[in-house]
């Protein structure tokens, strides 16, 4: 194990678009995006359950795609657009996925919820009408220990209907 003192200076620096906002951040160069979001940017909505890519709690969107922030060096995000749970709603309103999750009991302890919501958003952005199997598959990298997933699937389906309603011409 390394015995050199830890590098505490924030000698690394990147520019990212965080939830739509241009953001400059300096950080200790060994950090992953997860650590920089939580510790250097104060975005603690992104959770962690293993930091080894084995649970999905830290999922965020990198240029619209769900990735694990625990396995992504912050260095590597320079110039990228990142969406976290803090940026899911807009104009003071919850995203339909958030409303559906809240209304239908899809969040129990709530700890896996941010990662699941972002993953579900990426799914609905790419495929507005996923089947139950497609939802199950898309969320298969997010462990939830509380719900047994079923109310989560139902919430994604409810949000899907809600979004489709909004997109109807004249709606």
């Amino acid at each position: 194990m390394a015995t050199a003192p830890a590098e505490s200076q924030k000698t690394a620096r990147i520019k990212i678009t965080l939830n739509g906002e241009e953001t400059d951040v300096s950080f200790a160069p060994y950090k992953t995006l997860l650590e920089v979001l939580r510790e250097d940017l104060g975005h603690t909505g992104t959770k962690h359950g293993c930091e080894l890519g084995e649970c999905g709690a830290c999922a965020v969107l990198l240029d619209g795609k769900p990735v694990l922030s625990c396995l992504l060096l912050a260095w590597e995000c320079d110039g990228c657009s990142i969406t976290t749970i803090e940026g899911l709603g807009s104009n003071g309103r919850l995203h339909p996925l958030q409303s559906a999750f809240a209304n239908l009991g899809a969040a129990q302890c709530g700890y896996c919820t941010p990662g699941i919501l972002l993953t579900a958003k990426a799914l609905l952005d790419e495929n507005p009408h996923p089947s139950r199997d497609q939802i199950r598959e898309a969320l298969s990298g997010n462990l939830c220990r509380c719900t047994g997933y079923l109310q989560i699937f139902e919430a994604v389906e409810a949000a899907m209907v809600q979004i489709a309603e909004w997109k109807k011409p004249g709606a």
Binding site: P5, G105, C109, S140, R145
Partner: protein, 836 residues
């Protein structure tokens, strides 16, 4: 009912139905903390960042069993960025959740008992620095003999893992006799003797334990922690830090899942508290997943022997249960767990004579403790499989057998448990119907099968962890001039929805919405004590306390409004944020006005409520484990497919009916049932807390096989079957609005139902969990070879049982006390008692 005079009776009835309708209770609703959770704003312990905050890491023992000879932390202390190094001598006072098992030290002073036992703590400016400095602490150990499992513990009295307990490495032995089972067996037409093994498993909350402690500006201690039991942590901190509890504030942050795994006071909590006090700066610790496996406190591995006598019609004549329990390295809740492996066998089916013997051994593994279904899951597995075997032998349908022998409502059992409502029969009938059981059982093609099992569970432990005469739960209610309502309660939100329960009950009583209510819970400074989120106690106990506080507030408002409106008090209704005359609903005031009227009349409007469970008739020693105000019931049918060559097992569908009394929020209630089924299915098929003993000639190592969330197999969204949930609602008079528990009970029938379904599919018994393809293949090979078609244990080792405590059951004139004198089982017996 008021008797209005001016309106025709029929209209009044309709009006009353409308005004008396429940508006919050029983309606599927967004839970009060849902918005925080879906926006990422819920602040879990690890989300707390404070100025000048330092990070703590623990150096853990690499040896399963050793004496600490020497610790030299000078190199670590000299490492740049390190503020403090603590060792056992800094925190020598022993603590533990149960008063008779005060056997833990925050940092081991001279004896490590499992790989992962903490021996030193480093506090540094950065977590990475603290981690690096761990390697600079030099510890010399004297290796002791490794004890890997209970049988080895029975055979290895020395060296002792603890210097207390029954003798050698036996922590606790129990021998309770309720009636003469030999007479029961003599009356029986058939006697069944079966052996089962339930493997250990763990909670695996997605949130890893974390704590942040500060010395607050006044010089007192505040700690935020992911704990299910802030009150018990409060007591442990006071004891170990030798401080007045009045100077300690424990704030239980919302838990990112608990399932029992955050119910003990933990070493890391005590360490950061001490460090924060010493450094006068905030100190955080966030455990890694591996460290969470070392905290453990999960399901005990249990070996069981069930001997049951039955009449031809299925009537049970007697039952003898023996359990051998792998406790791991510490007491934890183990004494209670030991009793729980036999406490509830009598609650679902009538057992006229019952003999229960249990033995918990210490081993050099992370300590076991309470996991969802605490201690009752393992014997339930055995009992329900044995019933399946009994039904087959008696040529009875397993559902029919259970309907015949189901215990009656309000019965007192052989071991003096007082039951409340018993919805077991209704659960069975419903689940049989919705699963089309009668068209499937023994009728599906080879490789497909269905299995049925039932269960019962406590709605709150009848006794507190430490003896006291005070309430188990308290609620304070504050009503303010703005019409706002604030609930203060020690109850802890671990994801189960305890905040929502409190808000729903108060909202219903006072006729407002849950959005009108603020809730402060889990904070020892702000709310009265609630014992914690364990034993499925919160809905009933904190719920009843909230109900009482709300009813008292309602009485004050009623009086004030009645006087103002000149309406008889019994005619006033609280609904839709108004207080009004039920005979003339347009006549009323807003809730806001009602509060102001009350404040003008009585002064500041604040009420309290509390709840103490009824006294149990089980007065024998050990009778404190098992009593509950009432019990929930479940029945489940599981369908499986089993590949006859590979043994590969799939579960396409599960049906479950749960007797909940009343669902306060049906959306959350269903979530609790589905979550229980999920966790049960994981235990049934894949979850396992497994250890590796390296070859003894080469190593003394005994390690967790793979302490990771990847190799501890928690089912994914793709592994989850369809679940059909039925809630059986027969309000129980003990519960608020009739509610009983739902958080744990529905887990219990899943594992035996899977086992019974495997038998229906391919004709082999797997008498242990997890039920894996390998075990099925081995059982199929036995079947093919003409031997007993099963996989599982074949014997129960000899245990030197103490003389049984003889408690005649109620129908033999028993009064809940033992007729023979309590004799110490061993002269060596010693309890680690609370020193306060």
């Amino acid at each position: 009912m008021p008797n209005p005079t001016e309106s025709p009776a029929v209209e009044v009835v309709e009006l009353q139905l409308e005004t008396d309708r429940l508006r919050v209770i029983g309606v599927p609703r967004r839970r009060v903390d849902a918005r925080a959770k879906v926006t990422g704003q819920t602040r879990y312990a690890d989300d707390i960042f404070l100025p000048r905050m330092a990070y703590c890491k623990l150096l853990r023992s690499p040896h399963p069993h050793a004496r600490i000879q020497k610790i030299d932390s000078s190199r670590a202390l000299a490492h740049p960025g390190v503020y403090l190094v603590l060792t056992g001598k800094d925190l020598p006072i022993e603590y533990g959740i149960i008063p008779v098992s005060q056997d833990e030290q925050a940092l081991c002073l001279d004896h490590v008992r499992h790989v992962g036992d903490p021996v030193a703590a480093v506090v540094a400016r950065e977590e990475l620095t603290a981690l690096e400095a761990l390697d600079l602490i030099d510890v010399e150990y004297e290796i002791l003999t490794t004890v890997s499992d209970p049988e080895e513990a029975l055979a290895t009295p020395e060296p002792r893992i603890h210097d207390y307990g029954e003798e050698g490495n036996i922590h606790k032995r129990v021998n309770l006799e309720f009636g003469n089972v030999d007479e029961g067996f003599a009356e029986a037409d058939e006697i069944f003797e079966d052996f089962f093994f339930y493997q250990g498993n763990t909670h695996l909350p997605i949130e890893q334990h974390a704590s942040v402690a500060i010395k607050d500006p006044e010089g007192k201690l505040t700690i935020w922690s992911s704990t299910q039991t802030p009150h018990y942590l409060h007591r442990a901190l006071a004891k170990v830090l030798e401080m007045s509890p009045a100077h300690i504030r424990v704030i239980a942050t919302p838990n990112g899942g608990g399932f029992g795994g955050k119910s003990d006071p933990f070493n890391h909590e005590i360490v950061v508290a001490k460090a924060a006090l010493m450094l006068d700066r905030p100190v955080k610790i966030g455990l890694t997943r591996e460290e969470v496996f070392y905290c453990h406190r999960g399901r005990h591995p249990v070996l069981m022997r069930f001997k049951t006598g039955v009449k031809k019609d299925g009537t049970i004549t007697g039952m003898h249960l023996q359990t051998l329990i792998d406790g791991g390295a510490y007491g934890s809740y183990g004494v209670a767990s030991t009793f729980y492996t036999g406490a509830l066998q009598t609650t679902s089916y009538h057992v006229p004579r019952y003999h229960f013997q249990a033995c918990r051994a210490f081993t050099n593994k992370p300590p076991c403790g309470p996991k969802r279904g605490h201690g009752t899951v393992q014997p339930r597995f055995g009992q329900e499989i044995q019933l399946d075997k009994i039904a087959e032998k008696l040529k009875l349908d397993p559902a029919e057998l259970r309907l015949r022998i189901a215990e009656a409502p309000n019965a007192v059992t052989a071991n003096f448990l007082e039951l409340g409502t018993v919805g077991l029969r209704e659960c069975i009938r419903r689940v049989v119907k919705i699963s089309s059981w009668n068209e499937k059982f023994r009728k599906l093609p080879e490789g497909r099968g269905v299995g049925l099992a039932c269960s019962a569970y406590l709605t709150g432990a009848g006794l507190p962890i430490y003896w006291n005469a005070m309430p188990h739960s308290g609620v304070q209610l504050k009503l303010d001039r703005g019409g706002g309502i604030t609930i203060f309660c020690g109850a802890t939100e671990i994801g189960q929805g305890s905040d929502d329960v409190l808000a729903a009950i108060v909202a219903e009583v006072l006729g407002v919405t849950t959005f009108d209510i603020r809730i402060y819970t889990g904070d020892t400074d702000l709310g009265p004590v609630d014992l914690g989120s364990y034993s499925s106690r919160v809905t009933l106990m904190a719920g009843n306390a909230a109900m009482q506080a709300a009813e008292r507030a309602k009485a004050m408002l009623t009086e004030a409004v009645g006087a103002r409106l000149d309406v008889p008090k019994e005619r006033l209704r609280f609904a839709d944020q108004r207080v009004f005359d039920s005979a003339a609903p347009e006549k009323g005031v807003t809730f806001h006005e009602a509060v102001c009227l009350a404040e003008a009349r009585f002064g500041t409007v604040g009420t309290v409520g509390s709840y103490t469970p009824p006294r149990s008739p089980a007065q024998f020693k050990g009778g404190g484990v098992g009593p509950s105000p009432t019990y929930s019931y479940s029945a489940a049918v599981v369908e499986v497919t089993v590949n006859p060559v590979t043994g590969w097992i799939n579960v396409p569908k599960i049906w479950i009916a749960h007797d909940i009394g009343r669902a306060l929020n049906p959306a959350l209630a269903r979530g609790q049932v589905e979550g229980s089924v999920y966790m049960g299915l994981g235990e049934a098929l894949m979850e396992e807390q497994e250890f590796r003993r390296l070859p003894k000639r080469l190593s003394h190592a005994l390690v967790h096989k793979f302490p990771s969330i990847l190799e501890y197999k928690s089912p994914t969204s793709l592994d989850m079957p369809e679940i059909v949930v039925e809630l059986v609602e027969e309000p129980d008079p003990h519960g608020p609005f009739g509610a009983k528990e739902v958080g744990q009970g529905p887990l219990l029938p899943i594992m035996p139902a899977v086992a019974n379904a495997v038998y229906d599919a391919v004709g082999v018994r797997v008498d242990e969990v997890p039920i894996t393809p390998e075990k099925i293949v081995k059982a199929l090979a036995e079947k093919k070879a003409g031997r007993a078609p099963r996989f599982g244990p074949t014997y129960f080792p000899d245990v030197d049982w103490p003389e049984p405590l003889r408690v005649p059951p109620p129908w033999e004139g028993g009064d809940g006390r033992a007729v023979n004198e309590v004799r110490r089982s061993s002269s060596q017996r010693k309890e680690k008692v609370l020193r306060t």
